[in-house]
Amino acid sequence: MSQYKSSNIDYSFPKKGWMDTPVEFKQGMFCHGSKPKDLEAVGFPNPREWSSKDKDWKIPANWKEIVLNGMKERLDKYRSFKLFMDICVRCGACADKCHFYIGTGDPKNMPVLRAELLRSVYRKYFTLSGKLFGKLAGARELTEDVLKEWWYYFYQCTECRRCSVFCPYGIDTAEITMIGRELLNLLGLNTNWIAGPVANCYKRGNHLGLEPHTYKSQIEFLLDEIDTLTGIKIEPTFNRKGAEILFVTPSGDVFAEPGTYTAMGYLMLFHELGLDYTWSTYASEGGNFGFFTSNEMGKRLNAKIYAEAKRLGVKWILGGECGHMWRVINQYMDTWNGPADFLEEPVSPITGTRFENAKSTKFVHIAEFTADLIRHNKLKLDPSRNDNLKVTFHDSCNTSRGMGIFEEPRYVMKNVCNNFYEMPEDTTREKTFCCGSGSGLNATENMEIRMQGGFPRANAVKYTQEKYGVNMLANICAIDRAAFPALMDYWVPGVGVTGVHELVANALVIKGEKERTTNLRGESLKLATEITEVTEKN
């Protein structure tokens, strides 16, 4: 990865004002354009072959009218959007809070200026002062270059909302990025890494496009691994009507390492509990890349989880370790497709705990579910099986800032691991730093921006590595699990990546299991302990 320039951050003062600094598309900072077949699959506008590297993006002749009408429609529809366009006083409190600004030094990555890219156009066409005084009033014409600038920078924002925590007005910059992306989407200006998963999810039920038999065979592969490890044969059910609980998790968990170890964790835990639950090959995706294109598409993809819960006649839904899935469930689902009155208010069948926070959505986060099990002493745990690990925890942006899950995963980890260390407090909980690859930016061709944007998070991990010898970064998000291995290899070599339920399953003592000689990854437990002892002696 030595080809990346990530360590050369230029914070020098720009030569010209931002309006007079044209956008420059830099290698490794942006994604490939969307493919026509993926736009066609969901009925998105303007499906055609195009490349984000070309000069001509093949947009309709009346593109300006489409964008301005789209803006007007949204200003009327979303009061938040109108408010966020009007109230910013450009105080700059957000500027140095953004991981992309810290990592790139590019002024247009300051949240205030990223929003200003859109706000300037709003002023020109929708405010009197902007119409009369133009540039003096911070207004500018909408041109093709402005459009390209939007595309470049709205896909250099991960909608993580760290800036919003520091905004005295509470402006949610993620919502500005979301509207910016919606407007671009009206012209077919999407990215391949987002439009592809959206089309897959719409057609086959999950981002990866796993067909039902493939999804099932993936889980059977994991069951085989569990059998080898524990001698226990687990037989989960799929699409079973009448199950008490529907379990939904990101498809990355069943398909890609290291998420697959987390999926093994779910399977082992539910088996030990004797939980009456089912997987679904239709609602086979917890994530929602539709949310990264438009409100309407997010709603369409979210609907299928509830349609499946209704069809199967389950009582409630249990959700796996995912990030933006929970922002959607906790903050959007209720007005999109809720309230889910046909389901029951979730009650843990093991402890009797009523999850009142999920009263409306009927969707419980697995970290809450497992923390509650441990609290009631329902699990037999041997944390020494994680003794080869020194673990720190990354608060995923969406579960922390989008729903306030801070204590539950920590409580779980402290019960299943003996060595747990926190990153510095300005980088955790609601102030957590993004992985740099969220909101559909976890492609390969934009690796440069991923490494730059992930730098503040990696820097905090490095601190724990140097201070405590941390060698494992835990999280509760599938994008984290997909994105962090590259980030750690680049900035903090020697630190691995895990989901919390992989750690749970390592420690979980299952009735009738054979003696464990390895952890879920097949690493020798004995050897790991000996290595630790030898290292400590030295």
Partner: protein, 111 residues
Amino acid sequence: MGSFELGGRTYQTDEDGYLVNIEEWSKEVGEYLAKEEGLEMTESHWEVINFLREYYEEYKIAPMIKILVKAIAKKLGTEKGNTKYLYDLYPEGPAKQACKIAGLPKPTGCV
């Protein structure tokens, strides 16, 4: 988007050089793509490619490496069914390089 000519035919590729239409794949196309990667294909290389294509035929997605390793161990023995062997054949990684030569599309999402 890109393309290449082979035997009088034009083949479309995506920005990363992956074949756009998997049904256009042939052994000659595989050889061409391997050459682009700077690889000399041997019988051992083809064993992996053939397995990938069979897997894709059934499951419509490229397998995760662990499944590939396990399946190859089962079919061709443990001396071939390990990560090192696969990386020796495909230094850029079996998932990336071998899938490209086999004409399979790249998985997208939380991967």
